[in-house]
């Protein structure tokens, strides 16, 4: 096990996680738990819980966890570089080309079709997440309030996130006091 191994494994994870998000969890699990045996299965579940509670993309959070556990700060540097580099290269290439061609009629037509697809997929993801989070009547109101606050009242999402974290900590403290 050396730093180059870490870099290569996370480069691979970074390169094949199209779209990002939870879709990449199975790939990370296969590479880090099954193949490399860098962390145990239970640790992986803890990792997912922590990665969700920490800001930032799951890919980076996983890279930090595994890198730090194996080699400390040095490991973090190599695993994070590995996981960010593929998308960095691709986006720089696209940015270099896209800014030149985005006003061409063909590209404009293609993106006129793609934009509503993005809207449709994001709406679908709201419904899917709502189902898997077992949203009840009270939380539906909460979800709508958050959306309206941002959409109509233009409230900065930062305040809403901070408030939810504070409520979460308070509820945790209350529950552990009751036990």
């Amino acid at each position: 096990m050396n730093a180059i191994d870490l870099f290569i494994t996370f480069f691979k994870i970074g390169a094949f996680t199209l779209g990002g998000g939870y879709a990449m969890l199975p790939l990370i699990e296969r590479e880090v738990v099954d193949k490399r045996e860098w962390i145990k299965k239970e640790e992986f579940l803890d990792l997912v819980a922590v990665a969700q509670a920490s800001p930032g993309p799951i890919a980076i959070n996983t890279a930090v966890f595994v890198g730090y556990k194996l080699m400390g700060i040095k490991g973090v540097i190599f695993s994070c570089l590995g996981s960010v580099l593929p998308s960095f290269i691709v986006i720089v290439l696209i940015a270099a080309v896209f800014t030149g061609i985005k006003n061409s009629p063909v590209i404009e037509k293609i993106f006129l079709g793609i934009r509503p697809v993005v809207a449709g997929m994001i709406f679908a993801s709201v419904f899917r997440l709502g189902k898997s989070a077992r949203i009840n009547k009270i939380s539906i109101i909460f979800v709508l309030l958050v959306a309206i606050a941002i959409w109509i009242f233009k409230i900065t999402p930062i305040y809403i996130i901070l408030l939810s974290i504070i409520v979460g900590v308070l509820r945790y403290l209350k529950r552990s006091n009751n036990i």
Partner: protein, 171 residues
């Protein structure tokens, strides 16, 4: 400029809980509304490009905006800015978890964040809908993508490509 890019994306990275779509309203607020670094349409196009390229949306946005405004060094500093907070916070959390098992605590906070995250995503969906759907043709594509994406487990990459082809044919 480079410092401003770094700090703006640092702020975005710091509050990007929930990952993926949930961070769109915050990115949009900072990048489109406050700084005018991207137009609304360009912003949606980056989201679309992020669907078909590797890497998380926030990082892709940072790299793209940075490159557009200040070239490679801009891309480097915005990408660094957006990943830095999560790296620092994750190192601290990892230390905690490896020492004492505090995973339960974080899980409890996150379960409370979940409705917030869904609300953020809903806001992103509405904002993007408003910018991208303006006639029957775009509405048809929207409904198609929504239904297909909800009913069948179709890869976002394939859906995005189909949208592009449909756009090319009907516009």
């Amino acid at each position: 400029m480079i410092l401003k890019l770094f700090f703006t994306f640092f702020k975005i990275g710091m509050f990007s809980f929930g990952g993926g779509y949930a961070m769109l309203p915050l990115i949009q607020l900072n990048v489109v509304n406050q700084n005018n670094w991207l137009s609304h349409k360009e912003f949606i196009d980056i989201v679309a490009i992020s669907q078909v390229t590797p890497g998380p949306i926030a990082i892709n946005c940072a790299t793209y905006v940075g490159y557009k405004l200040a070239g490679i060094s801009g891309a480097l500093f915005s990408t660094l800015g957006v990943s830095m907070p999560s790296i620092i916070i994750m190192i601290i959390l990892t230390k905690l978890v490896l020492k004492v098992n505090k995973a339960k605590f974080f899980e409890s906070i996150f379960s409370n964040l979940r409705p917030t995250v869904i609300g953020l995503i809903l806001a992103a969906a509405i904002l993007i809908f408003n910018e991208s759907v303006f006639d029957t043709r775009t509405f048809f594509i929207f409904i198609l993508a929504f239904v297909v994406s909800l009913k069948y487990k179709i890869d976002p990459i394939i859906l995005t490509i189909i949208g592009g082809i449909l756009g090319y044919i009907i516009f």
